[in-house]
Symmetry: C2
């Protein structure tokens, strides 16, 4: 009970730094389009794998595409530890980057093409809630909740058939796209001794 | 279908700017402590009201305190429109600010005092999911879900008795703290013609 927040003024801004490898790799990625669900998911799973390999966060990746053209709009990786912030799940980072690039808080706004997110693991309860707010109209997922739970991550309180909640809001969900590959990243991370955080460390 | 994200490199960082009035007002606020649930909630509701009055976002405020000492650690307001980002709900902003000030992604980490959040409206599904990840051990709420829905906001898919999901994770929930005051801010916002966004504007 000894640590104290700094007294004095509040910092007027907060900065999210993307890992340099992510920024460097994005140039080439945008030069092409990703036509199929599998191609789009391969991007998300590759981001998850590289995030672990580069030591920049947890074993989760996400990416946002234009649904029709397949253009890659934004990548996201889990940055909870390097960013020092529990909300920085891969899906949240992808939403922040996509909305920043497009200059809108609603990827489903009139005049914009429809967008779709690929996530290397089914969303936790926070990210499930974030998806409708983001304005994406589709969600692809690879590893399942139970795959994340199997290595100790807490997915939080979610409806049994969580995808129905999104579909009721006009968001098309496709599960099990490259599930084996998404799960493999989780298993490699756990086998390598990566931090499994679930906010239950304290008293 | 004409707007396109900029091609070329990804911006290496993203900045969240807090409203200047929020930063300016925080100095005085940290000089005192907030002993009771009502005093803590009054801070959150006042933030919501000022956010509307200053035109810096939606009618939602949150604040994080040390549970025992009552010290104010971090304020938060809804910054979705000015920040151009759908995840910037008041609770998320408060979590970002608190974790940034304390230098940790887990406010419940060993060695830290317990923390409690006050939110001027019951959390939407995203924020409900974000609370356990943040590491706070308590949540106070004012206006209810139905008060937010009454003016058109979508709270998303939440369990019927959502507070039980938090209590099952060791987070104590106290509802209806200054509910009338929290609801009044929502009603004033709606009466004033404020934007009611629910990510269903697009096709």
């Amino acid at each position: 009970m000894t640590e104290r927040p700094p007294a004095g003024p509040l910092a007027p801004s907060w900065r999210l730094d993307l890992p340099p490898w992510l920024v460097a790799s994005f140039d080439g990625a945008v030069a092409r389009t990703y036509a199929t669900a599998e191609e789009r998911m391969a991007v998300a799973v590759d981001l998850a794998r590289r995030n672990v390999a580069m030591g920049t966060g947890g074993p989760f990746g996400a990416a946002i595409f234009e649904s029709e053209s397949g253009r890659l709009v934004a990548p996201g990786v889990n940055l909870v530890e390097p960013g020092g912030c529990s909300v920085l799940h891969a899906e949240i980072v992808a939403i922040i980057v996509a909305q920043s690039r497009l200059g809108t808080w609603d990827l489903g706004a009139p005049g914009l093409p429809a967008h779709e997110m690929a996530a290397s693991t089914e969303p936790c309860s926070m990210c499930l809630g974030a998806v409708p707010w983001s304005g994406v109209r589709g969600l692809l997922t690879a590893a399942r909740d139970e795959d994340a739970r199997a290595i100790g991550f807490d997915e939080g309180a979610k409806p049994e058939a969580w995808w129905r909640e999104l579909e009721a809001r006009g968001i098309r969900v496709t599960r099990d796209v490259l599930r084996t590959e998404g799960r493999a990243v989780l298993e490699e991370y756990a086998a390598g001794g990566g931090t499994i955080y679930n906010s239950r460390e304290g008293e």
